[in-house]
Structures are given as structure tokens and as C-alpha cells.
Symmetry: C2
Subunit: 420 residues, 2 copies
Amino acid sequence: MSLATNLAIDPARLWDTITETAKIGATPKGGVKRLTLTELDAEVRRWFIAACEEAGATVTIDDMGNIFARRPGRDNSLAPIAIGSHLDTQPTGGKFDGIIGVLSGLELLRTLKDSGYETTHPIEVIDWTNEEGSRFAPAMLSSGVFAGVFTKDWAYAREDRAGVRFGDALGEIGFVGAEPCGQHKLAAHFELHIEQGPILEAEGKIIGVVTGVQGMRWYEVTVSGNDSHAGSTPMTLRRDALLATARMIEVVHGIALEHAPHAVGTVGLIEARPNSRNVIPGETFFTVDFRHPDDSVLAVMEKKLKERLAAVADASAVTAEVTCIWNSPAVHFDADCVSAVRQAAEQGGFPHRDIISGAGHDSAYVAAVAPTTMVFVPCAGGVSHNETESAEPGDVAAGANVLLQAVLAMDAKLAEREPT
Amino acid sequence: MSLATNLAIDPARLWDTITETAKIGATPKGGVKRLTLTELDAEVRRWFIAACEEAGATVTIDDMGNIFARRPGRDNSLAPIAIGSHLDTQPTGGKFDGIIGVLSGLELLRTLKDSGYETTHPIEVIDWTNEEGSRFAPAMLSSGVFAGVFTKDWAYAREDRAGVRFGDALGEIGFVGAEPCGQHKLAAHFELHIEQGPILEAEGKIIGVVTGVQGMRWYEVTVSGNDSHAGSTPMTLRRDALLATARMIEVVHGIALEHAPHAVGTVGLIEARPNSRNVIPGETFFTVDFRHPDDSVLAVMEKKLKERLAAVADASAVTAEVTCIWNSPAVHFDADCVSAVRQAAEQGGFPHRDIISGAGHDSAYVAAVAPTTMVFVPCAGGVSHNETESAEPGDVAAGANVLLQAVLAMDAKLAEREPT
């Protein structure tokens, strides 16, 4: 396998670019709040397009708002080798989650332009729309449509908690592109991302060679009791939806512990109605997030969830409606892409290890339609989805260099296979 | 004791008035949403003032927005005998809580006007501001200032969850009166109210002779953990504020059960941050409402609450800050007022029983500065603070007639005492 090992990205330029974009939606605590399809999302999208064009790329947008910035190759009849991630963030997000994946792609475009290096395939940098899913559930909505997991119409109909439809919000910021989502062919897809977990840091590794993504299932639960007066309703006559919900949260935690060490279970969002100090809550809405590398274990966890929440509801004199709104099976990445990353890490002399992603990523969906893998770098304390999320400039640069070498290696490897 | 037993209120007129005002803030489920100091509150206040003036009363307003509608007596140098309650409601409130107390007062004014009956004391009907406390905590804020429990400045500084100050909201709807709150003397204060509990209905009683109000304490709790990624943070490394809160809700419930049958404990309001499906909640805010007829038992419940929430916080790797924001001691009503109500119920031939109020009422505070008591009538299933709250027209009429006879009896009894 031939490697263009003489090429390297510009660490200072990459870091400056990360710092610059972090100003768009910057929070007082040093994080970033850039919810998908808000004006701040639109602002960073416009900045990204301008920067890619300046680096010699041509930009197209599909009808899910996904942005493709293409640098021509020697043979532009070939599908591009893509570097993709997302520029949207959590409500209290950091400067790195998703963002370094897109900006390292931009840095690759700049590096290739400066060196005049010519790839066989076109190279593309992609910003996937609504990876976070915190405003519009589920997460990775647009890469999901790209991979055929969801239909565009279904995606357009997703609503945020205020009742705004995804399709309307996308039109509102002016990012409904002409290209039908999913028709855009990719020869390969690479994604650089922070680990969002504590493993690399704990083991002193700089590069995580990601072999796959664990399975994920999201649920919505509505608990119905009866709202009545907090002062004059005897404890024995209550139908307290929040008390029942408290017991259900403990159940979710318990199921995850029963499948240690790999299972995780989280109730991240809760609403109580009428949510008044002196009224017993008559209704609650909450979400459940279950993850495990083995889909069969997730099936067992789901069975336990439905049985136990029903039991808690009965015992608490309320009813509970449990709906699975998202099921993302475990993913195994492309062997050639994974070995390209592993070899790039070795040749770069970076301490590395194979790892399974605990978080969901656009690559998990794209893997269904193109050879795909990811590169992880450590984040401090494994903390992510948090304003204090941080990563070392040297680690991010190492990840971008591994990304560069892996992309060039795949460009060469796939070129050998092309009919001449 | 002389009773004007020939007088009686007009049941149909009273019921029509209740139905008419229920249109102001009516909800699709048949309830009323008329949060204090909103435009809907202002609308019902304007309606109330016009109706009282039409019944021959003169209206004054104090600087907490409390409305006093006075019908002159034979000796207007005497302090008035008052009939007071509130026209504000819960977010999902009913047509009766507070409202029948004010509207039965209006019905008394109309009845006295029609009959030309002349009382010795002036008769006043009062609408107390922000009894519910669901927008601005604590409840009974303005009767509390009236009784000297709170200062006006402290009350003005209370904020709703959106950060709006009580004083600003009061000015916004134009109900900051000239009279300093608390300077308005009362010879006595009566309040007709639905029981908001199941006891009268269960025992087939129509009238509850209210001898006092149980003690109440409100707490605010802020739980701080660490918000991090729901997929890649191992269960063992989490500091989940919502999981800890779930355990605290169970603790509140347990403490109330330990002091059965009279104790009640409720978590009515909860907020989680950032409240995103795939982020472990790093912080929560919730409220606790404890009530018991015996203040010494409440003190024990508070001690248990603080000890056990601290223990749960330690065990859950979070911190919890518990603040008691309101302490309303148990109240014992005026013996003369209570016997006037009991006698009126007997002479009216209404099945009755003595009862302690489980809910807070403006009368609980007014009792500190004027001879006070209350009259309860049943509500279906004891349900209140709920859109389905309902009461029988016949029971409400019975309560209004008992109120009328008790007021006239106290007018005569106090007149005997006056220096001539």
C-alpha cells in the first residue's frame, strides 16, 4: 500500500480554525450551543461553505441540508472519498464533538491545495445535518436518510418540543438543496471524532482505531395518573405520575447495571404536568436511551424495560405508554478502511488501540452505503456533551494526520482496483 | 344570638355567576387556567369590580392588588365583616377553588341589596391576590403581606420561572392600589371554599365547619452532578442528577407515609438540565410540599428530609442543596366565628362536621389579624387543582346560605359588644 507519508497537516491552522468557529454559539462556560437548524447553525454553515470554496472545493447541498464540498481528483468519474461529521451541538455542548471531524476535513483540503497533491478520486468534506438529535429526535437524522434508514418525508415531519417540523426549520434557514438525499455516491467515508469516553486517556493512547459502533435504542414514555391537590389528597388516594416515574428511572438504571460492563441506560429528558409546586403531577413524559455492542442483549434489555415499567405502573396506580422511536443496530466498519487507519497510526508512531464507539455517529449509518470507519482521539476525562469538553491540540493534530494518511491510502488502494 | 333566618341567597343567580366567570380562562377540558397577574386575571378582576359596584359596593385596592368591595352598614366607623377568597387558579385548575368564595360574597351583596337588609358593620367582599402560588411562590402571598407574615418588598421581588418579578407583573396589569397592604382593618373574615379533599363526600356531609388549617412547609432542592455523554460514559463513572432526584422523590413519599394518616408529601415541580435525550442530566431543580396538622411533626419530617436527601446525594455522587422557602404554621380559627358557622349549619338543617383544612387558604393568614373561619362544601371525589374539579349547585348554595347566616350572626354578636 503506497502512502504519501511526506504530507502533513498544519496543526496551528487547524487549531485556529477550531477556535474561530467556536465563537459561533459560544457559551459563557466556554462551550458551544449551536442547535441544528437554528440561525447559529446557518451561520456556521455559511462560514464552512466559504472556507471550503477558498480551499478550491465546489459545494453542493442535498434536500436534507447535508453539505458536500468537493476537491476534484485525477478521475472525476469516480465517486469521492469523503471526510464527514457534523457542526451542530448539544444545548450545552463543547468545541470538539463533531466539529473536529468537519474542520479536519477542511484542513485536509487546505493541505492538499498547498502541496498541489493530486488524488485519483475526488475528495469531499461533508457536514451532516442534525447529528445530535437533541432538538429533533432521532439523532443522525440526515445521514440516516442518506443511508435509506429513514425516508425524507418522515424526517421532515419530525417535530421539536415546541412543535416545529424539521422540514419547516430546514427551509427557514435556507438549506434545502436541490440534490435528492441519498443519490450522492461515496467511494469511502472517514470520520475523525473525540472518543467521548475515558478509555484512550486512561490507557495513554492517542489514536482509537474504531472497528464499529454499539447498538442504540431510544424510547419515549408517557405516564398518566391524576393531578390533584397536594394538601388535601391523602397519600393512599393518589395517582402520582412523577412518583411512578421516579421508580421507572431506577428501573432503567438497574437494567443497565444487570448487563455490565458494556450496557448503558439513561433517562436524559423529563417533563411533568402541570408542574406546579402544590399539585400532584398527573402526567409525565420522559425518554430512555439504551446502548450495547450486541443487539441481542439490547433486545433483552427492551423486554425487561417494557415488563418492568408496566409492573411499576400497576403498582403505582398509573398507566405507562412505552414507544421505541429509534433502533440503531450495532455496526461493524469496513476492514480495508479500518486497516488503513491502523496502519496510518502505526506509521505515524502514535500509540493506538482498537475500540468500539459508545456514541452514535453519522458514520454508523453511512457504513451501510459506503466503506466507512472512524478515528478517535482522547478528550479530557472522557467528558463530552458538556461545555467543559476538551481535547489536546497535539492529539487533534495526530488524528487529522492519521485521517490524511488513511484517506490517501484508500485513494491509492481503490485506484488499483478501478478498471483501467 | 339573633339570626336573620328569613334571608336566603338566590341559588340560580349564584350558579349562573360561577358559570359566567368560568368562561374567563376556560380550558378545553372544562377547567379554568387563570394564573395570577396575567391578562386573564386582570379581565376577571375588572368583571368582579363592575359586578360589586352594581350591587351597591364601593371598591378600593391595596398595593398588593387585593380588591375590597364594601357595602355600607349602619355604623361605618366600624371595621367591616369580610368575605374573602381568590379568583386566580392553577395552570390546570377548576371552576370552584377560591372562585365560589369570592362569588358567594358577591351573591351576599346582591341578596342584602334586594332585601334592603341593613347590617351594623359594613360588609366587604375581598379578592386576595396570588393565593395559588403556582406562578409566584409562595402561595397566599398577598394575604400573607396583609397579615404581616411577609413584607411588601420581599413579595414584590418574588420571580416566576421566567424571571418576571411579582411587583412588575402587578404593575403590568394595572392593579397596584393606593392603600398600603395591611392597614385595612377587618372585624371578622369568613371564607367559603370547596373541601379539596374526599372526607365530606365520603361521610355524606354538606357543610364542613373548619376549625383550623394544617401546617405547611415548602422546600426547593437543587441537585448538582455532571452532564456527560449518555452513550460513552460507563455507568460506574456517572454523576446522574436525575437518578439521584428519582431516589429523593421516593424519600419524600416515604417520609409522608411514616407519619400517616395526616401527613402528606409531594414533589410537584421538576426541571432537569440540559434535558436532552442523550445527555446524562448534570443538574435538577425540584420542589417539596410537606403538610401536617401538628407543627412538631412537620419539624421531624423536615429533619428527616434534610438528613435523607444528603445521604442519597452522597450515595449517588452528587450534591443537593435544600432550602425551606416557606413555613406556614398550623392555624386554629376563632371560636366565635366557628360556632357561628356551626349554628348556621344546624339551623339550616345541613348535615355537617368539624374539619381541619388540608389545603392552604388566605384565611390561614388573615386569622392572625382578624377573627376568622371557613365553610367547606364537598367536591366530587375530593378532586381539586384539576380541570375536572366539580361541586353540586345545591351544596354550593347551602354553603353560601351558611356563610350568609354566619356573617349576619357575627354582625349582630359584635354589635352587642360595641360601646354605645
